[in-house]
Symmetry: C4
Subunit: 314 residues, 4 copies
């Protein structure tokens, strides 16, 4: 069906097709390939690509930010903006799910609780098709300003929504606009989370101590993120392709001697458009032409980093 061409790029490492791009299977840890000399990832990957597919639509508040002029009179619902959000679950997520299957990769989907409850079948399908369900709050409210117990309920409610709809227990967290508060990490630790992504400080995951226990940080980016580039900075989709490829080329080079992770983020109503799914396919197929590139869910990355004695600890 699809053309999956794998070219060997000679990057100083002699190779044959013995190490294939890693595919992810739901729930199973990929059986480890023999560790390559010089490889910085303990599973032998040269560069790990972490893709996010955020599921938020259907859970947004009334009159949430949208491309529409905000001059709507008080008391009236913004009907066109509602339809713009509906696109996220009617077309966007389904299209992206088909694209991940076509490309043979698994992703992490941070799901807002209210979006999950609005579309439990879709949330379940995301998990059934092999992707990770991670938490993204109960709704779009701010959490950083809540007292401890309220913030804990806010997070737990979102977790419950995911669990009851998908059967998957989230171990990773993403706050709205990355804006966690002073208590958030403690709460996550308490609730059994293993990692969070609300950190832009590095191009590789690292371990921190939360209440004296290891907790993983799987960093996020804005510069390879559709809500920042397409919605916020008005990039055309071809600009997105070129910029992410430039990011990849540089990280792939660095990955010869350093542990490197490339993070790309898509949001249902933005990354799920035909033009953006086309862009995404171009980017991923380009990356798949390079030896040693693997696509992992963030829970799998967390597993790897926890077991890695060379991991950065802050």
């Amino acid at each position: 069906m699809t053309t999956r061409r794998t070219f060997i790029k000679q990057t100083g490492v002699l190779g044959t097709l013995s190490i294939l791009p890693f595919t992810n299977s739901p729930g199973n840890v990929q059986e480890s390939a023999p560790v390559k000399p010089g490889s910085r990832w303990s599973d032998g990957s040269r560069l790990i690509v972490s893709i996010s597919m955020q599921f938020e639509s259907g859970g947004q508040p009334d009159n949430a930010e949208s491309p529409f002029p905000q001059n709507i009179e008080k008391g009236f619902k913004d009907l066109p903006a509602e339809t713009w959000y509906q696109y996220g679950y009617k077309e966007g997520i389904p299209r992206m799910l088909d694209n991940w299957d076509r490309l043979g990769i698994k992703v992490t989907s941070h799901m807002v609780g209210s979006a999950v409850l609005n579309n439990p079948q879709l949330a379940k399908e995301i998990v059934e098709r092999g992707h990770e369900a991670a938490a993204h709050g109960m709704n779009w409210s701010k959490q950083y300003n809540l007292p401890y117990e309220e913030e804990k309920k806010f997070i737990q409610d979102g977790v419950d929504a995911i669990m009851q709809s998908t059967g998957f227990r989230p171990v990773g967290y993403n706050a709205n606009w990355l804006r966690r508060g002073e208590n958030t990490l403690n709460i996550l630790q308490e609730l059994g989370f293993r990692y969070h992504i609300d950190d832009l400080s590095r191009d590789e995951p690292f371990i921190i101590k939360v209440k004296n226990e290891d907790f993983a940080v799987i960093p996020y980016t804005l510069r390879c993120n559709d809500i920042q580039l397409i919605a916020g900075e008005h990039y055309s989709t071809d600009q997105f392709v070129r910029q992410v490829k430039m990011e990849f080329d540089q990280l792939y080079q660095e990955a010869e001697t350093k542990r490197r992770q490339l993070s790309i983020s898509f949001h249902d109503r933005i990354g799920g458009t035909p033009q953006m799914v086309n862009a995404t396919e171009q980017i991923i197929r380009y990356m798949q032409q390079h030896k040693g590139v693997s696509f992992k869910r963030k829970d799998e990355i967390a597993d790897l980093i926890f077991k890695d004695e060379t991991a950065i600890r802050e």
Copy 2:
């Protein structure tokens, strides 16, 4: 599956291939080609392209939004902005009409009543050259906040302007910035409309019930829309070309197994510039190289979807 490229570059010259790009004739339903196995459109089209040419200029209020600095003192008319709008009907629409002829396609023109009354001859010419006249309100005012009867008059006045100038009775509606109100669909139904476009939720038309009767939704987009991309997001015209082509490529692929519609929207003063008409020609000729692509007016799409038993019903 396969790359299906069939070159037909015809600018009025007969072609040799058995399935020609569908041209539209005003008023007539295209005689149906034999239904292709797997075709999702009942007329055998693989992908339907719906183009809008909005006719608004000449009907704008004083000091309407424009590229000009808004710091104009109270009591003074914005003379340069007026000339910017005049371009819409002096150069923009005429240039676009010539382009549709050159490309052999028909479009839907949502016409604001006050723009029509300002230029009845131009409105009439749009219809005489085979395009659909659809309604777009009487003027640029908000309608979503009007009481039922006032909103009904607002819509009807716009319909009357179109009918008296063109002889064409509109069956489709587009609200200013898609912003309909709670009563709009009921009013449209009452006034005999058959479809509206103020919905961004899908990439194919669908049927809803309005007062228990079927009503069609022919979805619109912002991401292939000149007022959003060129005027709002400051794309250069070449970005517009690449982005719409990327949209097309993906929808064309999906159209092998799903009913798919590509919507592109132009506004008189924006899409009618030389650089944008050039962009449009590039896009359409690219699409016309692909087998099974047809360009339809929205009233024709509504006809198709009403008769389609497999249509999505919400």
Copy 3:
């Protein structure tokens, strides 16, 4: 001196080298070439390109708009913004003048009176090198809200500054941001002007009546204008190249059967940067490859249109 390559582009019109691109000489009317059949310009040009090189820097008010954050405390001069404006006359205009010489073309320079008085030698050089000096107000103030006599003095002071520094008597006018008032055209007529450019409504010049006498409108554009695209819409310089070429290609086609004018505008501190002068050279050399393209000062265009019986009259 310059390399002037003229390629014949087969666009359906067979041609020979009998009609060369016209060069402009200061003051002289180009001796007319034999009128080509179908040519819409009375001098046989196929497409006329009108380039503006606005000279404003050095005349701006304190704390004029600039790329600098505007949060400067009251009572302090914006020193870096001053240096940004200085670039306009220290580097910008000189670089553009060299470029026009290299390309063998003449342009129209709308000069703000205060900028001229700040740099009379530069203003004089612009004229000595063959370009037209046109008026652009005495300073950057608004004029549309002034009483008749004040607005007349505002315009006349700017004219006097130009005449005393350059010896050239301006016959054309450009208001700040095109924002003329209700009296402006009457005043211009009274002061002996022959044309103004503050009109975006057409892609060809036209004649209007001002106090019953013919007055020419040489239209301007924002969409091929560096202050709009580069400064306002944040285009990169390569986007500017592609967009103006797309504009040219379409107008060149239309010019086979219609009178067409392409307007491109540059402002000292924006169009005069190395990257923009490079962009400009690319654009103009591209246009110069096409037969029948001539570059004219606006006073020359006004001359042509006044004598043209087929000119549009509004």
Copy 4:
């Protein structure tokens, strides 16, 4: 080590490989090559490229400007924005330092005092690897509105931070957003500085008198500056590449007969991303293909211009 390909571009100057691109060594004045006839730089360079690598992160105030929505409640720290800044010194500067080594060039790093104190080891490494440490204020506060003695302390504190961490005594200054005050140059002179960069008026350095003594101005640009183009104007990284190359091409041409300098500026958290370091490498390798291009620290440029009798004096 690095692939250093030097192509000879015949630009009218016959040449062999006798004059190589100049590399810079810390502290040493490059032994002068024989002066080329027509060369406008006294060391024989055709075009000098001045690169800035600004080191600011870690020294920013709470809730400093960032890509994050600014609607954060009073009293709360912006934790995600903090991580965005951390990227500047955890990944950005280290990546850029590796890139300069790979390309064999030296740059000027304007360092904010508070950033230096937060990361003295990194500041020291910048100097040890051959780059110039220049001053950029003690912190991100405004200085233009301070009384003389306070502004002097503000500058001196920043100088002290650099000296105690790196051992390097800064001789060049850059104010926050170029915004110096009426006293700044006098203060710099008094404190022993030799040049400042807060001037956009020329494409070559020049000499001014400050309290009757020579002081150099090494001009800066916004149009080849990552904080302006990437952060402010939302360019994609490929646009940055094309625009700077266009700037280079034009200045390289002009440099045949004029003294020309190309200034490019990078800021830790912006220019240090993988996509931007990739962009930078593309640009610099392109420039290195041209004969007579040298990359110099600004203190070296100041040395050159002070000794140049043909320097512009204002």
